[in-house]
C-alpha cells in the first residue's frame, strides 16, 4: 500500500513535467497541425540556460535564494520563448503552405540543430544541477515521502495549467487562439492576425516547456544534451493519449502517463517501462484513434 501511494506521488511529479511539455506540442498542433519535433529540444535547452543563470546569480550571493529562483525561472522562460519564436520564424513559417511532410522534416532538422548546438556549446557530458537550489525538506505523511521539490513541482504545474485554462477560455486572445485552431481562414476573415496568434502559441508553449525543463534539472539533477528526445517523446505521447490539439486532454494525458510509468517502474520493471508506455499508446490508438479526449473527425468528401 505504501509503495502504491509512493509511486502515485512519484507519478504525479513526472506527470507534471509531461503535462507541461505536452501543452507545448498540443497548442502548436492545435493551430498549425504540425508536430513540433524541436519542442523537446527547447525543453533541454531551457535546462542548460537555467543552470547558467543560476550559477551566475548564485555566485554573486547578494540576492536572497527565493528571489534568485524566481528570476531564474523568469529569465529562462523569456530566453526560451525567444528561441521558440525564432524557431517558428526560421523553420516553420516559410513552409506554412508547403506539403505537411516538408514541415515535419524541417522540424526534425531544427531538433537536430538545437540538440547538437547544445552539445557544441556545453559539451557531450552530463551536467549536474546543484542540490541546494530548493530546500531539501521532505514531509512524511502516512509513510509516504514527499520532498519539497516534488510538492513545488506539482503545485506550480497545477497553478500554471489553471492560469492557461482561464487564459484560453476567458480572454479575447484565448478566443482568438481557439478560433484559429478551428479554422485559420475563417479566423482571418474575422480580423484575427493569425501570424500573431502563432507567435503567441510558440511563446506560451516555450515558456511552459522552459518550466518543465527546469523541473527536470531540479528533480533528476543530471542533464544531458539529448534529454529533449526522451522527455519530448514521452510528453508527445501524453499529448496523443489525451487527444492532440486538445488542451485539457494533454493535461490529463500527462498525469495519466506519469502515473502509468511510475506504476510500471514500481511493480513490473523499470527496464521495460518505456516499452510498456508505447504498448499502452498503441492499444489506446487502436481503440480510440484520436486519443482519450480527442474529438471524432468526420472525413470531408
Amino acid at each position: 500500500m505504501d509503495i502504491l501511494l509512493q509511486q502515485i506521488v512519484n507519478g504525479l511529479t513526472i506527470g507534471s513535467i509531461y503535462a507541461l511539455v505536452a501543452l507545448g506540442y498540443t497548442m502548436v498542433y492545435g493551430v498549425m497541425k504540425l508536430i513540433n519535433f524541436a519542442h523537446g529540444d527547447l525543453v533541454a535547452l531551457s535546462a542548460y540556460i537555467g543552470l547558467v543563470f543560476y550559477t551566475q546569480m548564485a555566485a554573486g550571493g547578494a540576492m536572497p535564494q527565493a528571489l534568485t529562483i524566481v528570476l531564474v525561472f523568469l529569465l529562462t522562460a523569456i530566453v526560451v520563448a525567444i528561441f521558440g519564436v525564432l524557431l517558428e520564424r526560421i523553420a516553420y513559417r516559410p513552409l506554412r503552405n508547403a506539403p505537411r511532410l516538408s514541415a515535419v522534416v524541417s522540424a526534425l532538422g531544427a531538433s537536430m540543430m538545437i540538440q547538437n548546438g547544445i552539445m557544441l556549446v556545453w559539451g557531450p557530458n552530463i551536467l549536474i544541477f546543484p542540490s541546494d537550489i530548493l530546500p531539501a525538506t521532505s514531509w512524511n505523511i502516512y509513510g509516504v515521502t514527499i520532498t519539497f521539490v516534488q510538492a513545488a513541482m506539482i503545485i506550480i504545474t497545477i497553478m500554471l495549467m489553471l492560469a492557461l485554462t482561464l487564459f484560453i477560455n476567458f480572454t479575447k486572445m484565448g478566443t482568438a487562439i481557439r478560433a484559429s485552431a478551428i479554422n485559420q481562414d475563417a479566423a482571418k476573415l474575422m480580423g484575427i492576425n493569425v501570424n500573431f496568434i502563432i507567435i503567441i502559441i510558440f511563446v506560451l508553449g516555450s515558456m511552459l516547456g522552459a518550466v518543465g525543463g527546469l523541473f527536470i534539472g531540479m528533480y533528476y539533477r543530471g542533464i544531458s544534451f539529448n534529454l529533449g528526445w526522451t522527455y519530448g517523446m514521452s510528453a508527445f505521447i501524453a499529448a496523443i493519449l489525451g487527444g492532440i490539439g486538445n488542451i485539457p486532454g494533454s493535461m490529463v494525458g500527462g498525469y495519466l502517463l506519469g502515473l502509468f510509468t511510475a506504476l510500471i517502474a514500481g511493480y513490473v520493471s523499470s527496464a521495460w517501462a518505456e516499452a510498456f508506455t508505447y504498448i499502452l499508446l498503441i492499444m489506446i490508438l487502436i481503440v480510440r484513434p484520436t486519443g482519450i479526449l480527442g474529438e471524432r473527425v468526420a472525413e470531408k468528401v
Binding site: L95, L101, S106, L108, N116, L120, W229, A275, I279, P289
Partner: protein, 315 residues
C-alpha cells in the same frame, strides 16, 4: 526525358560496378554501406513515398533481418545462407501483424504508433529478449563462410550489396508499372475515392508495409554480414528518423532523389569526418534549408503516364 534517365542509370551502375578498381578499402566499405542503406531507404519509400503512410519505425524491419541472421548463425550455428528465406519472410509476416490494426490511423497518429513499435523493439533487444539478442552489446562473430569463401571480405560483400541494390531497383520498377503500384498511388492521393472505385485500401497499405519490411530485412542480412556483428544502436529510432528524412529530402517516390539523399546523409559524413562534432548541427540546418528551398524534395518524382490532375498538388 526517359532516355536521359536511362543514360543516368547506366552511368551510375557502371561506376558502381567498376568502383572496386579504386582499391581503397575504406572507400569500398563506405560505398558498400551506401548500397545497403539505399536499399533500406528505397524500402521506406515504398511505405512512405508510394503508399503515403508516415512510417518512422522502419529500422525495426532492418534490425529484424540483421538479428535473425546473427541469431541463426551465432546461436544455432547455421550457415548464413540458410537465413535468407527467414530474413524475408519473418519481417514480412511481422509487418502484416503489426500494421494491420494501425494502417487506418490518420497520418500523425500512425507516425507515433510506428515510432512506438521501433522503441519497443529497441528495448526488447537491449533487455536480451529470450536470452537471444545479447543485450546492449548485441551479438558478435557472425561467421560468413560459404563453401570456403568468406563473404565478409570487402570485395565480395560489396558485390553482394550492389546486387541487392540492383534487385531492389528491379522490384521497384516492376512495382511502378504494375496494378499494385497504381493502386498504391490512388490510395495515397485519396483513399476514400480509391475505395469507391473498388480498391481495397487497407489491403494495399498492409501490402506496402510487408513488401517494405521484406526488402529491409534482406538489407539487414547483408548489413550483419558486413559488420559480422549486430547491436541495438544501429536499429534505434534515430536511424528510422534519418531514413524518413532521406525519403523526404530526396523526394517521395523518386529513385534518383532517394539515392542522392542516402549519399548525402551517409556518405558525405564519411568525407567530413574531421568535423565530426559539428556534423549533425550542419545537417539539421541543411534539412531545414532544403525543405524551404525545395519542399517537394531535391528530385521530385515525375509521373509519365498519369493524367495531370492526378499529380497536381492539392491546395
Amino acid at each position: 526525358m526517359m532516355n536521359r534517365a536511362k543514360i543516368g542509370y547506366i552511368i551510375l551502375f557502371t561506376c558502381l560496378a567498376l568502383f572496386p578498381l579504386v582499391d581503397n578499402p575504406r572507400w569500398l566499405t563506405v560505398i558498400t554501406t551506401f548500397c545497403i542503406y539505399s536499399v533500406v531507404a528505397l524500402s521506406v519509400d515504398i511505405v512512405l513515398g508510394r503508399a503515403g503512410m508516415f512510417d518512422m519505425g522502419h529500422a525495426l524491419f532492418f534490425g529484424l533481418g540483421a538479428y535473425i541472421t546473427a541469431i541463426l548463425n551465432v546461436h544455432f550455428g547455421y550457415n548464413v545462407l540458410v537465413a535468407i528465406p527467414f530474413v524475408i519472410i519473418i519481417p514480412a509476416i511481422i509487418a502484416i501483424v503489426i500494421s494491420s490494426p494501425i494502417v487506418h490511423l490518420r497520418g500523425d497518429y500512425l507516425l507515433v504508433a510506428t515510432v512506438g513499435m521501433n522503441i519497443v523493439f529497441e528495448q526488447a533487444l537491449k533487455n536480451n529478449l529470450f536470452g537471444l539478442t545479447g543485450g546492449p552489446n548485441g551479438i558478435f562473430g557472425v561467421n560468413a563462410e560459404v563453401f570456403g569463401f568468406f563473404l565478409d571480405e570487402p570485395l565480395p560483400i560489396y558485390y553482394i550489396a550492389f546486387a541487392l541494390l540492383l534487385f531492389t531497383l528491379l522490384i521497384i520498377r516492376n512495382l511502378e508499372k504494375s496494378k499494385v503500384g497504381r493502386a498504391l498511388h490512388y490510395v495515397q492521393e485519396d483513399s476514400l475515392a480509391s475505395e469507391s472505385i473498388g480498391i481495397n485500401a487497407r489491403f494495399y497499405r498492409v501490402f506496402a508495409f510487408s513488401l517494405g519490411a521484406a526488402i529491409a530485412g534482406l538489407a539487414g542480412f547483408v548489413f550483419s554480414i558486413q559488420y559480422a556483428a549486430v547491436s541495438p544502436e544501429a536499429f534505434n529510432f534515430m536511424t528510422s528518423v534519418i531514413f524518413f528524412a532521406i525519403v523526404l529530402v530526396g523526394g517521395k517516390a523518386s529513385i534518383p532523389g532517394i539515392l542522392a539523399g542516402t549519399f548525402i546523409m551517409f556518405v558525405l559524413p564519411e568525407v567530413f569526418r574531421e568535423f565530426a562534432t559539428a556534423r549533425y548541427f550542419v545537417f539539421g540546418f541543411a534539412m531545414i534549408l532544403s525543405m524551404i528551398l525545395r519542399p517537394e524534395g531535391m528530385f521530385p518524382a515525375k509521373y509519365g503516364k498519369l493524367p495531370k490532375y492526378v499529380t497536381e498538388e492539392k491546395a
